[in-house]
Symmetry: C2
Subunit: 125 residues, 2 copies
Amino acid sequence: VSGLKFLEYRFFVRDLSIEFYIGIIVVIFTGLGIWVGLKFTRKKIVFVGPEFVLDVSTLERLEISKREYEVLELIAKGLSNQEIADKLFVSLNTIKTHSSNLFLKLEVSRRTQAVQKAKDLRLIP
Amino acid sequence: VSGLKFLEYRFFVRDLSIEFYIGIIVVIFTGLGIWVGLKFTRKKIVFVGPEFVLDVSTLERLEISKREYEVLELIAKGLSNQEIADKLFVSLNTIKTHSSNLFLKLEVSRRTQAVQKAKDLRLIP
DNA sequence: ATTTAAATCATCCTTTTGGGTGATCCGTTT
DNA sequence: AAACGGATCACCCAAAAGGATGATTTAAAT
């Protein structure tokens, strides 16, 4: 306040009220507090594992059915057609049909390519 | 200040200086500023792509040769043995030998499993 | 009621892949 | 010089995968 009064004395002629000085002080120290708060806060670093978000729109665009998607997932896990058939309780032929249709829709000709492309398209993690 | 003086009047008998009140105000509003600064700071979120680091020790432990590793990479890209042979300018039989040895070392029996396991072992991204 | 899409299974045939074995060549190590 | 690991290739056989086509059933949509 003394400093402010001194400044007032030097540069102005008006006599300012004590409330005015207090207002200025409030503003200045609130600002200081904000600055300190920002300055000494550790930046909160959040490591985000690349959260997989299924691209449903692509799934729909390619008209991939639920069953085909199941087969795709199991193919991606490295299972053979026979193993997939056993796991889904259907015949090997059925799985071959599903995978064939899947390859057509994904525009690939091998299961390894299907896995690659499906990952690129965010259909599987 | 008026509020403070009122409080002083109510609960204390001493006559406190204006500097004292200003000190209190400074402390209060600096604290307020700090609070605001912390409250409205967005947490800094850093997305960390899962930086792939090749696990050389595993590669050496499994005694996977350079050529075999090359084949592994191309298998992971979805190439057929014939395509790999063309790309590396060797015969199909050579690739079959390499992939067979690779499967032995990775303890798998299919290329899709090899890709899966190689990823788990951090041999490929 | 008819159409449609999904899921199921089959048959036939071809290509790809995997497993086993053996052989040659070439550097490096012993 | 001999041994060794690596890279290369061949041949054989069996299993797996892929492509094409057709058929049946069922549930949902029109």
